[in-house]
Symmetry: C2
Subunit: 344 residues, 2 copies
């Protein structure tokens, strides 16, 4: 049984997943990044190796059979389970919660070797739409406070399978980093009556020193206070608090991601990276965020190439040392020519 536990000092919740429990001898570092397709559960023809699918885009073929373009399945080793009762209790002075939630995998392509940025703009837009569909579906359960959408590319970024995929974890809590962002945005809004992210977009356009790419709908920058080298934030230029709201501009979002990720892969030698969607929490939270959310929170994507080791200093303090100026990182990425016509 997995469970959630809350640090009594800073209020940070953590999943303790004993199904995944590992003994000391189980900890080995992986060496090879690309796994052979023979045993890959995400490859076309291997549909029986995953739990039955939740959703798929397919052309006429049967459920859990080959012939799909994008496929959504439950994670075989979920961090949280939807069939667990949602129970909160105290353990002495501590707080505990059952491991209630959902953990899904979106397999972005049937092809073992295609990476996200190598998909056509249309296919990438389809992946975005499916993520939004799953977000909307999972949001129906109001016990779920947040749907975390993220991608680990490369084993050094935490991917246990090399076949390209994105994950959704639906949790009964609002994760602490998002809560910090919500609270920060809320107090900025109280002070200024403007969205802090809208102000960042304006400021970045004015300073014009950290922009990587811009199209009609989206803006990609290296943030002023980047924690990591070549860290990237992608914002919708129109104020929107929810990732679902970008549905009508998915082609522009796909264009943005294809170009930015192609630049990252071409310029930084296909680094491992993480991709995180920061969106508003679910519509009916108990803490009343929603009332002002539509005005003060602005959804965005963080892309973090994993180029440096995070040292004790950073872990212990939350105070990061970034060895690369964001202005130089942005200039480097903006200046790279990428041929996005080579789509698959």
């Amino acid at each position: 049984m997995s469970e959630l536990r809350k640090d009594p000092v800073i209020g940070r919740w953590v999943i303790v997943a004993s199904e995944r429990s590992r003994r000391p001898s189980d900890f080995v570092s992986s060496t090879e990044d690309r796994q052979p397709p023979e045993n890959c559960p995400f490859c076309e023809g291997h549909e029986s190796m995953t739990p039955p699918e939740i959703y798929a885009i397919r052309s006429g073929s049967g459920v859990n059979k080959p012939g799909w373009q994008v496929r959504v399945v439950p994670n075989k080793f979920p961090a949280l389970g939807i069939n667990t009762d949602h129970v909160r209790r105290g353990v002495g002075m501590y707080d505990q919660m059952s491991g209630f939630g959902a953990h899904e995998v979106v397999i972005e392509t049937p092809n073992h070797d295609h990476k996200l940025h190598q998909l056509s703009t249309e296919c990438l837009a389809t992946v975005m739409r499916i993520l939004q569909d799953r977000l909307q579906d999972l949001q129906k359960d109001i016990r779920l406070r947040y749907i975390l959408i993220f991608k680990n590319e490369g084993s050094q970024a935490g991917a246990s399978l090399s076949h390209s995929h994105t994950q959704l974890i639906a949790t009964p809590i609002t994760p602490i980093h998002l809560k910090q962002k919500l609270e920060g945005a809320e107090s900025y809004f109280r002070l200024k009556e403007r969205c802090v992210y809208c102000d960042i977009i304006e400021e970045e356009k004015q300073q014009n020193k950290r922009i990587i790419y811009e199209n009609d709908g989206y803006l990609a920058i290296c943030p002023f206070a980047s924690c990591f080298p070549f860290e990237i934030h992608v914002f919708p230029k129109r104020h929107q608090s929810d990732f679902f709201a970008s549905r009508d501009t998915n082609i522009l979002l796909a264009d943005m991601l294809k170009i930015v990720l192609s630049k990252v892969c071409a310029g930084l030698n296909n680094p491992p990276y993480n991709f995180i969607v920061n969106t508003a929490p679910n519509r009916f939270p108990r803490r009343g965020y929603w009332a002002t959310l539509s005005e003060d929170f602005h959804w965005h994507i963080d892309i973090i190439p994993r180029l440096t080791k995070v040292a004790g200093f950073e872990w212990g303090s939350g105070f990061y040392i970034n060895p690369t100026l964001p202005e130089e990182a942005a200039e480097f990425l903006a200046g790279l020519e990428v041929d996005t016509a080579k789509s698959k």
Copy 2:
């Protein structure tokens, strides 16, 4: 010039160190952990390879000469510099600060291959005393808000040199994780009129399920809501807000660290690890923490073996997945027999 930048949303400060600026092609992963002693600047006889020493324990020999037991030198590539003016300014909507501060290295032993837990209890107590001396000395500059003391053991934990050492970074800001701990402890104190860490110590003794080791002065546990497998917290059992206050019990602290680190190294196959001292911020901060600090904050050490990769999910959310039950981790470590007589 390095500088500090503040994220306008969550208030997190970051050092942008352009002296350390690296180009994309500079990012290579290290393979060998143990470096050869020939070029090690921390070895006895190589004193000229470091900046002139700040402090040393030596028997009669000359400054910056061989014959020392513990040596303190400025970091050759400092993240922050003491000769920089302390300047704060706005850049459009953003906030910036000059890279004012200090960055020192405590070389714990002249021997290239001795690790911290292999030192005698007396030597380890001396290392603690020197850290406290440096803390006290750096705290005299009231522009410095916090002295971060940490150790990276192993290249996977961020150590760039394999010769055993601990670092101090003195910063003009209070790091965000410590601020979260201070604020959490403060609101607990307001509610209960008791120190949250004192309550944790009591709770852990009562539950008796997560204790690794205890002596007359200190208690080591795997915390209830551990973020990482085999994460360890070490507390002084007597209420103390400042690491400096433990001066009279350094032998007990050394005994604690020697045993706990020996268990970690023996049981987990000499893993890379981080070691972080969480102590009260400097005495005269502008935010008035000190008034209640002596009552509500309790200094402690976090030890984090680096056994798992931190994935996108954790980075994006601050919501960690820990694959090992803290109770099982504590039982495993508590049960390990270590021979601490083999001191060097």
